[in-house]
Symmetry: D2
Subunit: 337 residues, 4 copies
């Protein structure tokens, strides 16, 4: 942290800040400048709230410097983490495509979609058994019956499966049936759930909160890893902005930033960000091009009659184009990466 | 919902949309216009996702019309709800001030703060026993020991107390000790927690998510009320924006909007929004002026040594000015309201 | 500026940064820390772009420290500036209310509105002669004929008048007719216009851009003041956010921040921010409460037939309530300020 | 426009709305629904402000339906526009790369950069002669001397050149020297400048405002085209969001949306959006992948000593990789488009 004093700060005010720094077990290093004095805060053991100093007399600004995450940081762990999910590897130079319907609605719907996406080139199957819904009156998912259907997808088609868990109550159940446990955008800072994920034996797919900074996202991953589970796949899914032509705005620059700051793999979900089918293919190509380790997209064998988010689900034939284009683009993107 | 067709939409495309509407049990009402046809969707029983139609051929746009909430709506329940908390009434023409430290740190800190805020004019005491922290390495609260201290505040000073609950595991425990259970901004769409709150016998203070629309916020309240608990106090606490001179940007226009749309009381929390002590007093006055039913502010008897968010906590003497100014302004604001 | 090096930065990389700093005529001051080295940049004469250093090998981050504005800063000019407009004083402990229609539509409309707002308590009259319109097909204002009507308002009612100028072509003409020249939100970074305003002999009302930071806003004022015109009134008019229940979101915390950073007066425009009449009165009260030096609101004698933004214009009787409440609240707000 | 009445709206309130619609020369079409009545507004000749109706008694909401733009719309002009710039074609299936330094600093700097980008594969050269700068104390560009240098680039290397114009005063001068006149993000709603651009004989590169919706951007283009100049190239350059790891957030979904709504070509500028060199290559690939008609990037032969935005300028060897990857990705992206 760097504390910038006002031009008219008195000697007493500077001393009070130095005293407050040292009281917290840190070292204060005054840096005299042309117009004002600044004070560096060194050797802090945990995060210090800038507001603590910002409120003190004579202080103009307190600026955090060191990033607060540790175990997820590439500075600690320089090489790419690769997460193994059955026979699929996520991270490094691998590129995975996760596909399936928004919600598990019935065995026949799921199986016909799984058959298709497997044939065309998906690596992992997705489908929601517990759905986070803005309205209490909307379809909430099939629950454990949905999980059983997902487990049969794995048996029948050899595809690992991923589904979202909404709360700690159902974590054991979800973990039992699936290969990757997803924590959704609304739960990115559900700290109890993150801690529980840290005790899981399965990989966690951690979506970015729709208004979270990359630092907050990596700190959420730090919650999981600090409890003992290093198998984390990050997923960028779009920010809430003033834009109205799409549901959210994908933050593509987060991908190179995460890759530089952290060793964890990061994928892109264009379906929820777009909210509209027409944008999913172009945004998927962009996700492959920007250097993501994979994509997660919604595909539905009959999207026009889907119970949930049908309008953003790809038709099967569109998904085929997506797989072909995304993989070809990825090959180009990593040539000189 | 209103579905706007493209100018070049064919008769078949229009028919397909009408068919899709009727398949969902709704009534389709075509509205021919000068340049294009639109189709009204009537009598829908639950929420319909606009994306369902937006993805269909020939459709230009699908625009939701009816608000999705019911029980929280003023159209259903025209008069202001008043929530009783001990002898304090929240809502209607009452104006409540909730005050206390960010976190419960020790019995002496809490008691001296409580003594002060009670004397100066607080109606309800606040203090965090379980703290949501971005970093797993930051102080996480005293837990049940903190709850016991809060209960002693009620005994000693006759102040009802409010504290945040982070997860379902601790809901029973929190509900046992306090008078109002707070659901924080990060949990506004933690649907399991909302449902549990709906079964509680205590009032719920529901903070707005930092990137939630007012509709989503009211739908979160609808989760609680639809489970049987109508005792809800809404709390505006600021939005995440590009602004850097405050932690968040308070959305003051949400107050008149919520008051028009819903019968529930709505208060303002300037401390977390500002993140800086200097802004808390002016923003508190603005909250009283805009018509909120109350304020929730952080006060600390020794903010410079606080373990959590000390920089945004008021000094005791500032809180005294706040109470006097806010109540006087509120009296003016409701004169012709 | 503070430059934070990566943990693994080499001695050569640190030296290259120091060299680059000194090449720009500044002083480099290395600050060794626990885990990494940081380098302070001192005595810089003009603004330095952080990106210059951020792109260099071994650099983790470059953080600007000193604020870039000078003449608008309270550090240079500690006392409140008071701008004199005819017999009206803007700034300090004065509170001004500027009112009038969005657009000047006809002499009779303007005169009847002026008569009303003058009688009820407005200090300054507003009205648009040149209108910035999103659509080229919308009403663009009466131009010079509108300016003449405004001049007659001053003659008839003794109210100083303010109107917006859209471009340099019309600056001379606007300056000739009115008492305050307004630069609108879309022109906040129209640097040629700002320079021209700096040569004007009339006060400038400078609206904040709808996505401008306070720093950028103050830098826009710095353009004006550095050309020689220190008569600037700042006007907060709302930010573009994801919110849909109002046109923009007023950033009330900008008011205390501007008052702390700058000596210039700052007022609030709730009409354009809200976009809806119902929010204007509560937001006006909030503006008075937060400590603004005044308000600018739209009033129309017949808002339902206005050619422009009628839906946000107050009815005359609402404006009367506004004046009474806002002035009473302001009196309370400054008692202990 | 669709006007939704409140459930408790009276017959008189409905009639007043119908009357207000008809007074504006439009047709009112009431649509009775299950719970409330809505009223369609048909045959409106120009844009109508929703706020006009939203403020009327009994009205719950007024929702705009028809898009306000006409001449830029693909509904009017179904085929892609192709803009010819010398021998370069922008639009349709062509993919253009525009490259050069942020600012023209000296003849030698420009010529060595031009030589390089021409050889590696740029189609058009860019460079700023007039720079929009947040600070009045920052380098403002070489002015006409810069324009002369750009003209010599065209002579020496056969590259068409593009530069930004900041105001009407310099439009004639800029138009005389360059092949494409750029209107920057801060001037997207400088309506006088847009009208002047509409009278120009040269193509206009119109950057999106950093907080503009796609509708507003297309309306800005409508200003130009309605004055007679249909040669417009749109340029997405990033939105202002809460994100701090990049200067702005590129809105990639705007590209397919603009391509669907309009016949005009649209390119992407990753350099200004990123603000950091490391992100430019991945974002350029994403721009090619998402279906943009081209890219505009900053390249500097010696970025570490650039006077302006050096930190976001590519090194020459990075630009070479960019050209190769972007063109290869574009080929894949349009295969099934």
């Amino acid at each position: 942290m760097l504390i910038v004093m006002r031009q008219d700060a008195t000697r007493e005010q500077v001393d009070a800040v130095i005293h407050a720094i040292e009281e917290r077990g840190c070292t204060a290093r005054p840096i005299p400048g042309g117009e004002r004095i600044s004070i560096g805060v060194l050797y802090n053991v945990g995060p210090i709230d800038p507001a603590t100093f910002q409120g003190m007399p004579g202080v103009k600004e307190a600026i955090p410097v060191t990033r607060p995450y540790k175990l997820v940081s590439r500075e600690i762990h320089p090489h790419d983490s690769v997460i193994n999910v059955g026979e699929v590897s996520v991270g490094g130079d691998n590129f995975v495509i996760i596909a399936g319907p928004c919600a598990v609605e019935s065995e026949s719907q799921v199986m016909s979609t799984a058959e298709h996406v497997k044939r065309v080139g998906a690596d992992i199957f997705r489908g929601g058994a517990f759905k986070p819904r803005t309205s209490p009156y909307a379809f909430q998912g099939l629950g454990e019956e949905g999980l059983r259907i997902l487990a049969r997808v794995r048996e029948n088609y050899g595809l690992p499966v991923v589904t979202e868990v909404l709360d700690m109550e159902h974590f054991d159940m979800v973990e039992k049936y699936v290969d990757i446990v997803q924590i959704g955008t609304r739960n990115m800072q559900n700290f109890s759930l993150l801690r529980r994920a840290g005790e899981a034996g399965k990989p966690i797919l951690l979506k970015r909160g729709m208004s979270a900074t990359v630092d907050e996202w990596l700190m959420a991953a730090e919650y999981i890893i600090s409890e003992g589970n290093p198998q984390i796949i990050l997923c960028e899914r779009g920010l809430r902005t003033f834009v109205r032509h799409s549901r959210n705005t994908l933050d593509f620059s987060a991908v190179p930033v995460v890759r530089r700051e952290s060793h964890l793999p990061v994928i892109v979900d264009p379906s929820h960000a777009a909210g509209l089918r027409d944008q999913v293919l172009p945004l998927s190509r962009a996700g492959a091009a920007v250097g993501a380790h994979g994509l997660m997209v919604e595909v539905h064998c009959m999207p026009d009659s889907a119970l949930c988010d049908g309008g953003q689900s790809l038709y099967p034939e569109q998904f085929e184009v997506l797989c072909r284009q995304a993989r070809a683009i990825r090959d180009i993107a990593i040539q000189n990466h």
